[in-house]
Amino acid sequence: MSRPRHRITSERRHPDAGITEREMEPGLAPSRSFSLHLPSWETIAKTAVLAFLIVFFSLLQTSIFARWRPFGAVPDLMLPLTVAVAIRLGERWGAVFGIAAAFVVESLGGGSLCLLPLLYMPVGYFVGALTEEYLSTGLPVRILLTLGAIALRSIFTIITVLSTSGGLTLGSLFSTAVFPEFLSTLVFAAVPHLVAVLCLKPFPRK
């Protein structure tokens, strides 16, 4: 699907990144020239809220839930949070948020192999892009995307466990790691979604 073109003759400031975009007259090939500006207060506030969400949920995940371990596994709260942010703010914010969230949570409670950015970044990016281009942001889509992300997380867990631990049977891998993590993340996915929706309410998607 091609991106819709608008005849814009005036300068338009990119709402998120503080980048000014100037389009040429219609009929000409589109060309963009970017120049950096200081971020707007809205962007700063948005970044602060996202940083708070990352810190809060990473601490929640690595301290309280890591101790509690509902259903025998620590729920991955950062993944549904990334999905929620991406749905709300779009692909770019989703991808950046995914990288930051993965890095922080890996730093606080991860092992020596830090693979999560490779999961969270594409999840944030593609969830944002899909909801921007094809899908609505309603509840069924939200649930579907979250389920897909959690399923991807399970695959990721399998790969990570198999690459770091030897002598595991599939049965024990699924019963001790994959299923509990899937269930635990699924059950608690609503929490980061709800918090993200509430915190990002002042920042509507543009």
Binding site: M1, G98, I99, E106, L118
Partner: protein, 289 residues
Amino acid sequence: MKRFFKSKFFYIAVAVALILVIVPSVLSAMGVSFFLRDAVNVVLTPLQKGFTAVGEALEGYSDYFTRFDELVKENAALREKVESLENQVYHASEIEKLYAWMSDFLEMKLRHNDFTFLRATITGRESNNYAKLLTLDVGSGSGVALHMPVVTADGIYGQVTEVGYSWCRVTSIADSTSSVGAYLERTGEEGICEGQFDLAPDGRCLLRYLPADSDVREGDRVLTSGLGSVYPRDLVIGFVETVETNPYNRGITVTVKCSADVADLSSVMVITSYETTAADGSTLTGGES
């Protein structure tokens, strides 16, 4: 969809993600910490500590909901354990009492190693005011027979006068129907201890048939003589309490305070068999019938 992959931003993001995967992983494998991870940890570890403390505080509350069944089971198990321990303590105190009681008998057993003892618990006492009786929890099923002597650590109490399969009744030597061959330990003078109705409630009896010139004194110890084939020789009956001379027949009336006091006892011993030597050197046997 192609747009997603053609986007410069996407590739930059992938590159950043790869850097954040590869660099920390490689450095970690080399044993070196990635400075960004360090920074994140330095900043967030105090907060994480706070969250952990909150989590610990909440754990008790969450346990109530999440581990309720488990806690109920644990509570039941602990109650059971407490009951079991209380029983053990009870049994231990019982065993302690028994030990003390047995050690009292040990001296008797050492002196009379031919005795065969059967421990019996006192299950009842006299139900009337005219007899000195005990009911024990052993009977013919345990080898108890009529006329077997019953003793305490302090001395002889009486003899078995009625036997059932799992019980027996013992009549005290202080009972008005009892008489026991006795002798004074100090002088060797022999007589017969007889129960008296008026003396029985106080656990006393009369020592009769002593020689008229007997040198009996208050406090003399009175032992069984073995005559009558019921009681073995040399068991303690009691101590002379009073000595009175009858002015009419010049006889001596000696009151003996029985040693065996069962008021505070819950157990006694039945001597089921014995073999002792009488004063004249003959061998006396008894108990088994």
